[in-house]
Symmetry: C3
Subunit: 153 residues, 3 copies
């Protein structure tokens, strides 16, 4: 699964599918690239080892930090739609995105962050969740080549 998008609704769909497959004991690999990387960021500001350029800092500020900061791709309505969906989810016992991510990790879903995207957007390894793997496009292609199905989200 390639996770390109940084939209809350697409990530929910992605993790629900990943967790569903993992629950059926199918091995799942999620490869996070471009905006998808933001879903793996830690919430608070992180002190990075290699100092960021001004541009990298700007990208870092403008992009959402972690799953709680993501928004709907549609009907966001200045955040109102996103809040409404989150309330409905908790009321109807649908797991929120941070819990879905934790469950995925507990179920052994592999989360790989695309190093080229990280380099491009100036995201350092220490800014992402601990225990994430890192890889280039080759790692996605190898994993896709041995998978029964692939999705681009």
């Amino acid at each position: 699964m390639v996770v390109f998008s940084g939209d809350l609704d697409k990530l929910l769909a992605g993790f629900i599918i990943a967790n569903g497959a993992a629950a059926m004991e199918l091995p799942v690999t999620m490869f996070f690239t471009f905006w998808g990387i933001n879903a793996l960021r830690k919430e608070g500001p992180v002190t990075v080892q290699v100092p960021k350029t001004t541009k990298e800092k700007m990208f870092g500020w403008m992009m959402p930090r972690g799953p709680k900061a993501l928004k709907l791709s549609q009907m966001n309505m200045g955040g109102l739609g996103t809040r409404m969906i989150k309330t409905e989810m908790s009321k109807k016992n649908v797991m929120a995105l941070p819990s879905l991510i934790e469950t995925a990790r507990a179920q052994g879903v592999r989360l790989i962050a695309c190093t080229m995207s990280m380099d491009l957007m100036g995201i350092r390894k220490e800014e992402l969740l601990d225990g994430i793997e890192f890889g280039g496009v080759g790692s996605f292609v190898s994993s896709a080549d041995s998978s029964r199905s692939t999705l681009f989200i």
Copy 2:
């Protein structure tokens, strides 16, 4: 095929591919989730059995009812672009979305609505086209696992 999107252009692409594959006698399953569900809604208002909460009513009003109400993901221009594309489609003998859906059903394409999304958005079974199947993520995963190719649209 996961149909996540509720954009007219993406649904056209999805159904054209589904119908193309079905015409070549390949079995096709389309799993509708999130905004994709709206493509399966009946046009008029429907009297539902379980009364809706205020929030569910709001979602229902704001989201498009059925294939004719969907819009382009790009160049919609307040509906003008969508109207232009529809005129061009009919002039150039490209099937409109409602006919594509009917053809898909006639060709035996399975249409499954995601029950979790329906629950979340407060969409009741009686609001969707008759004869649609209902299922959770497990039904998608099983079908993906036995498919030669999967798409996330």
Copy 3:
């Protein structure tokens, strides 16, 4: 791979994956449909053999001509974000989209333009890069059916 999108970032992801797979000697076919077609357009205005209708001319003007004219799906900010990403890419030695397309072709990636989309949007064969293939949905389905993995981008 179905390339539906005409967003710069999605096309970068698509071509990076395609080139990665081709470098690992896997055969790759990219099927361009709807907005994706714009990535294959030549840059300048092209004299077409069959004159265009007014509507077709309008579509042609409004849609981007070729890979250099594409924009980010997010954080475009009136073109500023797109320019920033392009500068970062060249600074960090990430190939720009036109070079990625050339590399793909040099590596034998098949690029097929969807004839139905071209017809709908009034794009003529002479407006697209030389040496592109043309095909309908059947050509995608056949190629998907014999592929190990498919993506919808």
